[in-house]
Symmetry: C2
Subunit: 233 residues, 2 copies
């Protein structure tokens, strides 16, 4: 973290902290101080404050004036609603994409899918595999949104996706078995789109999204302190 930059310092801190939060190195509920962070990266409080505000906007931090700043607890109700939005939006967007699908779209998508398959067949260490695959997963979805002409929907989406990303990491949805299921989900998704199979498209999207989430109760109960258990309404 060079201290010479006169621009981009805030963003660098933001990205660094975000990574640590998403990978649970900064666990939910942890206290995080402006001064501490500033000293750690040898910068002043100002860019740190900027970064904190950005993370607060994404729901990853909770700033309580004159008390402290804390990594936000995982709000299962929020996660549920995020998945709901994703389900509804993707069903609509991908249905639109299927309706305008033509052969020219094939190549780009096949390329991404093949890359994912190669990753899974490779001998990458689990941690690295997981990280690479999730990046490629995002690219896959981004590309579909873009082909459907709904780039803005994707843009907006990324701003609230952080909380779900963290949850996904927590569930350790990154092991090989889960990644394989994700990959097969992608293949099925694309089959449905390219064959304009609207009936199975909706079902495969819902399954793809909620896969893993519904079987999370057992894992969640092992770290109750990470979760917000407010009023269930």
């Amino acid at each position: 973290m060079t201290a010479k930059n006169r621009t981009g310092t805030s963003k660098a801190v933001y990205l660094k902290l975000k990574e640590q939060i998403l990978h649970l190195e900064l666990p939910p509920g942890a206290a995080i101080s402006e001064i501490e962070t500033a000293e750690k990266y040898e910068i002043s409080r100002t860019p740190v404050r900027d970064a904190f505000k950005m993370l607060e906007n994404e729901g990853l931090l909770e700033i309580r004036p004159h008390i402290g700043t804390f990594v936000s607890l995982i709000d299962l109700n929020m996660i549920s609603d995020i998945l709901y939005m994703r389900e509804v939006l993707e069903q609509a967007v991908f249905r639109d994409l299927a309706s305008i699908y033509d052969k020219s779209h094939e190549f780009g998508i096949r390329l991404i899918l093949q890359k994912q398959k190669e990753m899974l067949d490779s001998a990458l260490p689990p941690d690295e595999l997981s990280r690479s695959f999730i990046i490629s997963d995002n690219i896959f979805h981004n590309t579909l949104y873009e082909l459907a002409g709904r780039k803005n929907v994707m843009c907006f989406w990324q701003s609230i996706n952080s909380q779900y990303e963290r949850f996904r990491t927590f569930l350790n949805l990154g092991d090989r078995e889960n990644l394989l299921r994700l990959y097969h989900g992608h293949e099925i998704l694309w089959e449905c789109i390219s064959h304009k199979d609207y009936g199975n498209l909706s079902k495969s999207i819902s399954h793809h999204i909620y896969d893993g989430f519904n079987s999370s109760t057992e894992v969640v109960s092992r770290h109750p302190e990470y979760f917000k258990h407010g009023k269930t309404e």
Copy 2:
């Protein structure tokens, strides 16, 4: 703007500026300086900067480092995608609401609708009528989301709704005739929900949302400098 507060100053400035932007008192493209704003409200640059960042997050300001800060142009592609998301999400949420509807929901909604009717029948000056009605319009939609048990969806929604609000003001969708159409849209919407009339529900939502937007080209062409006419893709 009291300068004695040690908390809440940023938020106050944010709300004030947001109001001015949404009501086009600060028109799209206008330059707005941190120092100027700070002097105007007799505070320092710090809370002004915070407010600017918040508005940038909502897409209402564009901060160009070392150049200046400008009220963002209205991006019609973005508006289109926002309406699309709203259409898709509301169709899903309201359909869910219809499926769990029972008589106990009736009273609260009827109360809101009656209030709106009274507004329209009153002799309020157009400006005030418009403002009050839009607030009540938001309450109406909020309540429906809440009844459907999707409060978080609404929350998230409000964070990207600002740009649409501004566009709506620009179109002068606040005149009595348009407000009446909005009101009738509400009545029809609620009829569909309470009678579980799924077929007409989707249609009336789409109509309610796009009403006014499609007839906007003429008005838009009168102020081309307010709009972003980037690549149409």
